[in-house]
């Protein structure tokens, strides 16, 4: 239960960090809060020759309004997100998802960027990023580029970032108007990864039609999943025509890689997932109606 030996680097700037990543290539891994990486190292599920600790880079921390969006530095802890009044008012979905991550001791160390770059299909933040169409800002020795959430997650614990790219911040669009947001998930024990869950944002127009919606799923694939077909199906329809239970089943229809393990079969997760979508839809639309 002890990690294998590694060299430790603690750069002060993103530029120094990506130089190290470029130098060591696949032998290096970014260490952020370490709440997923360190268990994997302890169990020796992963071994790296170099860890690049970005925890001391001040530029990566903070929450601020930038161009109609809320920018959250990758190194911002989940506890800081939880305590942020800006997050609560501008991106309520992020605020609602945060207390569901692990336990408060984990959130004191775990970071926004760490969770998103780790890209666990059962984690909350990747689903929130997908549902809201967030943009990831990544830096490499070649400069910065932005990656849309839909192009970011490309496999189990895998993203479209190159080995020498560092996630520096996430830009969450601010939804205004008649909006509602909800996160529903089911876990056997509090703080466990959910067996299945759903994250939903919805906006209604003045006639109670669905103007836009984002539906992302937790724990229902090998990668963080977005229920794009379901979103397209309901957008533009009157709210009263959408029955939450049917929506839940619809969201499960296209899923092909639902995990199966000791905690539940794929069929069981599909049922739980449909229920979570239905509950989240009901909660989000109720909130939007009263907004």
């Amino acid at each position: 239960m002890k990690p294998a030996p590694f060299e430790y680097h603690a750069p002060d700037t993103p530029a120094e960090a990506v130089e190290l990543l470029a130098e060591f290539g696949d032998g290096a891994k970014v260490l952020a809060g370490g709440q997923s990486l360190i268990p994997m190292l302890a169990l020796r599920l992963a071994v790296f020759e170099h860890l690049v600790d970005v925890g001391r880079i001040a530029d990566l921390k903070g929450v601020e309004h930038r161009d109609q969006a809320l920018w959250v530095g990758a190194g911002t802890t989940q506890a800081a997100v939880d305590a942020s009044a800006d997050v609560a008012s501008a991106v309520p979905l992020l605020a609602k998802a945060t207390p569901l991550i692990g336990h408060f001791q984990i959130r004191n160390r775990g970071t926004v960027g760490g969770s998103i770059a780790h890209a666990d299909p059962a984690a909350e933040y990747p689903a929130v990023a997908l549902a809201l169409d967030a943009t990831m800002s990544v830096e490499s020795p070649r400069g910065r580029r932005n990656i849309a959430a839909t192009d970011f997650f490309d496999g189990l614990w895998s993203t479209s970032m190159e080995a020498d790219e560092l996630l520096v911040g996430v830009s969450f669009p601010i939804w205004s108007g008649r909006t509602g947001f909800a996160v529903e998930e089911f876990a056997r024990r509090e703080g466990d990864f959910a067996i299945a869950g759903a994250v939903i944002g919805v906006e209604l127009d003045g006639d109670d039609r669905i103007q836009r919606c984002g539906v992302a799923l937790i724990g229902l694939g090998s990668t963080p999943e977005r229920a794009a077909t379901t979103e397209a199906e309901v957008t533009g329809r009157p709210l009263g025509d959408v029955e939450p239970g049917e929506l839940g089943h619809l969201a499960m229809a296209g899923l092909e890689s639902i995990p199966e393990d000791l905690h539940g079969s794929a069929a069981y997760r599909r049922r739980v997932g449909a229920t979570m979508v239905a509950r989240a839809w009901a909660a989000a639309t109720t909130e939007a109606c009263h907004a």
Partner: protein
């Protein structure tokens, strides 16, 4: 692999050592500082037995390397009694309410509850249950621990 020097304040005392980067904060506290009150149960962040305060925040010391705690202030179970050796209010409540049996998980629970009640001095029963969810106890069935937390807040509240 290169060893690195680290220095931190542990329970008010300056500590310095040269360590391998892979040494966890928990092992640093136990082996370098000889503070064996911090217990290691699972060593991968599940059980909460190794909870300590780093710059005031409750964290799992098995999920942090000692080098990451460089220049911080760490408080362990050995550091929360008063200077004359009296148990803290949380420790007294655990003793009074049978909040422990074998005692292995207790340092982690006490550190968790100490941080929680500092930030939320008047919690509901539900909030207490949320706060305790990251620490595992295999003896008590948790009822004594819950009672201890209620006592440490100065009384029981409904809901």
């Amino acid at each position: 692999m290169h060893e690195l020097s680290v220095q931190m304040t542990v329970n008010g005392q300056a500590r310095a050592a040269t360590v391998e980067p892979r040494l966890t904060l928990a092992d640093f506290l136990r082996d370098a500082c000889h503070l064996t009150g911090t217990h290691l149960g699972c060593e991968h962040g599940v059980c909460g037995a190794c909870t300590v305060l780093v710059d005031g925040a409750a964290v799992r010391s098995c999920l942090m390397f000692a080098v990451q705690a460089d220049s911080t202030e760490v408080t362990t179970i050995e550091g929360i009694e008063s200077s004359d050796g009296e148990l803290s209010a949380v420790q007294s409540a655990f003793r009074d309410c049978h909040g422990l049996q074998c005692g292995f998980c207790t340092p982690g629970f006490v550190m968790t509850v100490t941080a929680f009640l500092r930030d939320q001095p008047d919690p509901t029963d539900q909030e207490i249950r949320h706060a305790l969810s990251g620490n595992l106890c295999r003896c008590t069935g948790y009822q004594g621990i819950l009672k201890a937390v209620h006592q440490a807040t100065g009384g029981e509240r409904e809901t």
